[in-house]
């Protein structure tokens, strides 16, 4: 059994199902990320793990112990809120000391741990500051220090970078996992931003409509999404309705603009099966080829600084791909010939 285990969690909100059978586990020391569109129930899952909400059905285990009915303050699970929820009537140091006081640490132990946390988050000079005058980034670090101070068994972070502006966000996107790994805490973050999810976590737990649709390392998810919803959510756009030919001996897939050969043995569909085909943009080559050759017309060309994004019209859809600016990209209106690397094709069940 994993360090944290959630089984078949159900929860309704105002008579609408919010979570319907969410099941997943998180290993000790892992930084997991709950990713999903808004309304997919990820924050509610976090609140259930923290003990702020009770599921109508399902269990929560930590280290094999059922904690579903345990009140929030006895779980050793700290939730860092998106708005940080710093206590406005306490100084920075008093905020950080709060969880230690609740655990009845000695005065000296509290002072030592607070100093340690201030150093860890680079807030040494802020101990006696009023939290109400801090900047967004400083507030975020105080919240992190306060959450880590009592050495929680599990740290939950709800949209930890959500309240920050863009520049700060990018800097903290690098800092946050460094601090979390240095402490070695098991953590679950929640985000709706896939870039943030990929940068922060060892493993992504993808939620849709109250269910876990896929879990795995970020690169795995991206490389092989479970279905078209996952592909679209991750921003993979080259999707075509597809059908495997009836022939048993080869892996040939019929798509609207031709017949493509696929390399993927593991997920190969049954002959005659219908589904969708994902074409990773890195597998599209605009040069004459022998396998999976195609002809298309360029409809758009957009310059993005480090690359050009081309949109090609093919029968039944469009292909999008990025090419480095060193090459001369074809102009809109031009007809191009190309081929698609069979290793870049993914069969997705319907």
């Amino acid at each position: 059994m994993a360090f944290l285990e959630l089984t078949d969690i159900h929860k309704t909100y105002e008579n609408a199902p919010l979570l319907c059978g969410a099941t997943f586990g998180v290993e000790r020391g892992e930084i997991a990320c709950l990713l999903g569109p808004s309304g997919s129930g990820k924050t509610t899952l976090l609140r259930i793990i923290a003990g702020l909400e009770t599921p109508e059905q399902g269990r929560v285990f930590i280290e094999g112990t059922d904690i579903t009915a345990l009140p929030a303050h006895r779980r050793g699970v700290v939730l860092m809120f998106q708005d940080y929820a710093l206590f406005p009537h306490r100084t920075v140091a008093q905020n950080i000391a709060f969880g230690l006081r609740m655990r009845r640490h000695s005065r000296a132990a509290i002072a030592a741990r607070v100093a340690e946390m201030l150093a860890l988050t680079g807030l040494e000079d802020f101990a006696d500051r009023d939290v109400n005058v801090l900047s967004g980034g400083e507030r975020q670090r105080v919240a992190l220090a306060r959450s880590l101070a009592p050495q929680p068994r599990l740290l939950l972070l709800d949209e930890p970078l959500g309240a920050l502006d863009r520049n700060l966000r990018e800097r903290l996107l690098e800092d946050l996992p460094v601090i979390l790994r240095r402490v070695g805490v098991t953590a679950i973050t929640v985000t709706h931003d896939q870039e943030e999810a990929f940068a922060l976590s060892d493993r992504v737990i993808l939620l849709n409509a109250g269910r876990v649709v896929q879990t795995g390392r970020p690169e795995t998810l991206y490389d092989h999404p479970h279905d078209t919803w996952v592909a679209r959510f991750l921003g993979l756009e080259n999707l075509f309705p597809a059908r495997r030919s009836d022939c048993q001996s080869d892996l040939r897939i019929e798509v609207p603009f031709g017949v493509l050969t696929i390399n993927d043995q593991a997920d190969a569909p049954q002959p005659g099966a219908e589904g969708n085909l994902l074409i990773h943009p890195w597998g599209i080559h605009l040069e004459a080829g022998t396998v999976n050759a195609f002809t298309a017309q360029v409809t758009q060309r957009a310059f993005h600084g480090s690359y050009f994004r081309l949109t090609l019209a093919v029968d039944g859809g469009t292909l999008r791909l990025d090419i480095a600016p060193g090459q001369t990209p074809p102009a809109p209106g031009e007809t191009v010939h190309g081929w698609i690397d069979p290793t870049a094709l993914r069969w997705l069940s319907a």
């Binding site: 702020l52 303050h73 809120f81 929820a85 009537h89 109400n132 959450s147």
Partner: protein, 583 residues
């Protein structure tokens, strides 16, 4: 001044003043208008209101100072001082503060759970209930006192039930003229105050703060004590101090429900002035009263400034949810039930018992038997009250619009603004005493005239009109006026074509307030009304202080009529208020 008008006005006073200071419109308006309109005209608008304030507020108060400080005849002064600072005064002062403290504690105890329910839960009927909690604000103290005699007296529904259940010959309970009755009536008036002040603050408090404390290891109780309570403190202190001030200056409730055994400073002033005719002693007591309320108000203001904390306030939809568990539903129901019973039961009992003898109590109002306590049929009091109220409404509207128009755009307007709010902080009995002393001789020999009653009521009602009209004027975007001006409208025309159509609702609300305040005013009127010119509250008080079932019945009938007028006014206010506005 009756507690009800007091309560309401202070809330509005506080909130609107905040709005005046912080509204960006206020500053833009002021720049616009000082540029565009002649300085002198703006000042001329204030002449009439200021003159009114001078003659009917400062002049009478000055008379009290004069009467208490310059007493001609040496030995008499010694005697006065001995009495003023003697044991009786100390006892009165002690009782005044003691009952106020007890009332405050009881109100907080009952009101806090209610405030929590209103702040954190969303439940069916909440809007309606919220509107109903406004009722105590418009109900005259005399009506409430009469209602509580009906609930707590020997023929109350509870006694009737107990007598039939246990076959008793006499009613087992008579809570009239007890401290308990006074406390209950004060809770009735101030429960809503706690609900509003603490509840609205609590409703905007980020629930994440308490939840963060919970996940950091604090038990629910610990999280409340460590996080929620300190953050609620300014609202709690404000509510507690306001309740204390209102109970400290309570008059009608103590006079009627307390009976002869109990006297607050306010009641002592009335008795010395009216029953004993000892105006100098009354003036001395008034001075003590003024100093006490002034001191409390200063503490209140300082406390607020010191306790205010910058808070990230949250909209209601973030902080409120439906009750889910059986425990939560029970808690919500219990508090809603308590509030409804507390606010509704006295009023329903009052109305019901006024029909105890069919319509007899009502028809008796039209008779004028020999030896009656009035010189006219009691129903004449209704006519008097309506006349005074119409006069008050007209005068208060006139002066109120002048004041609001002159002040709403001023950057430094708050000092004048505070000046016009002063009558609210002065007890009505003190005001009445001032009139007794000042208006007895020229230059303003108005004592005993109906006009003086209208002036007194106007003084009390004026702040309500100003409080309602000024924010409405401030809310009009200056560009609207500028547009009208560039289209060729002269200033008067701009007011008629732009301001008036927008502020008429506020004017109407102010008018209804002025009308109900006048209809229910008891403290000042009781000092200055001539016996043959009674108002409804005076008539009710006289009926209540006479023996006999018919007298009591007529008091109930008249209270019910007055309640009907005030509730109609309240419904009018609720429906006229622009949607979404809170006071």
């Amino acid at each position: 001044m009756p507690d009800n008008t007091d309560n309401e006005s202070r809330i509005m006073n506080h909130e609107s003043r905040k709005a005046v200071r912080h509204s960006p419109f206020a500053i833009r308006n002021s720049q616009l208008l000082t540029r565009n309109s002649p300085f002198a005209i703006r000042h001329l608008l204030l002449v009439l209101p200021l003159l009114f304030l001078l003659l009917f507020y400062f002049y009478p108060l000055g008379a009290i100072f004069r009467a208490s400080l310059t007493w001609d005849g040496g030995p008499a002064l010694d005697a006065l001082l001995t009495r003023l600072f003697g044991a009786a005064t100390l006892r009165t002062l002690g009782f005044t503060a003691g009952q106020a403290a007890l009332s405050t504690a009881l109100t907080l105890l009952l009101g806090l759970p209610g405030a929590y329910v209103f702040a954190r839960y969303d439940f069916p009927g909440k809007r309606l209930l919220n509107a109903l909690t406004t009722v105590p604000f418009v109900l005259p103290t005399v009506v409430v006192a009469a209602a509580f005699t009906a609930v707590l007296g020997p023929r109350s529904p509870l006694n009737t039930a107990l007598m039939s259940a246990f076959n008793l010959a006499r009613p087992p309970l008579d809570l009239r003229y007890t401290l308990g009755a006074i406390l209950l009536a004060h809770v009735f008036y101030n429960y809503t105050l706690v609900l509003r002040i603490v509840g609205s603050f609590w409703a905007n408090l980020d629930p994440h703060l308490e939840q963060a404390a919970r996940t950091l290891g604090a038990s629910p109780w610990r999280a409340f004590v460590e996080v929620t309570l300190p953050l609620l403190l300014p609202a709690l202190a404000a509510a507690a101090l306001l309740v204390f001030i209102f109970c400290f200056t309570s008059f009608g409730v103590i006079l009627i429900l307390g009976g002869p055994r109990f006297a607050t400073l306010e009641v002592a002033i009335y008795r010395q002035a009216i029953d004993m005719g000892n105006l100098p002693l009354a003036a001395g007591l008034s001075l003590i009263q003024i100093l006490c309320t002034l001191g409390l108000t200063v503490i209140y203001t300082r406390l607020q400034g010191r306790l205010a904390r910058p808070l990230d306030l949250r909209p209601h939809w973030v902080t409120q949810r439906k009750p889910r568990t059986a425990g939560e539903i029970t808690f919500v129901l219990a508090n809603v039930g308590l509030g409804a019973a507390l606010l509704g039961l006295p009023l329903v009992t009052l109305a019901a018992r006024s029909f105890d003898a069919g319509l007899r109590y009502y028809t008796a109002l039209f008779e004028n038997p020999r030896g009656s306590i009035f010189y006219v049929p009691p129903v004449a009091a209704v006519g008097n009250s309506v006349k005074f109220a119409l006069g008050t409404t007209t005068l208060a509207l006139l002066l109120g619009v002048l004041t609001a128009t002159a002040l709403y755009h001023r950057k430094q307007g708050w000092m004048l603004d505070a000046l016009f709010m002063l009558p609210l902080g002065t007890s009505a009995v003190t005001l009445g005493l001032g009139y007794l002393l000042a208006m007895a001789r020229p230059p303003l020999a108005l004592r005993g005239t109906p006009a003086l009653i209208v002036f007194g009521h106007t003084l009390v009602a004026l702040p309500f009109v100003v409080r309602n009209v000024m924010p409405a004027l401030q809310a009009i975007r200056p560009s609207l006026r500028e547009a009208a001006a560039t289209l060729g409208a002269p200033p008067a025309r701009v007011f008629a074509e732009v301001d008036l159509p927008i502020v008429w609702r506020a004017l109407a609300v102010g008018a209804v307030f002025a009308f109900t305040v006048s209809m229910g005013e008891f403290g000042a009127t009781s000092m200055i009304a001539r016996p043959e010119l009674p108002t409804i509250p005076i008539a009710i008080y006289r009926f209540l202080s006479q023996a006999g079932a018919l007298n009591y019945g007529q008091a109930l009938a008249m209270s019910t009529l007055l309640m009907a007028v005030c509730v109609t006014g309240f419904v009018a206010i609720e429906s006229l208020r622009p949607p979404g506005s809170e006071w």
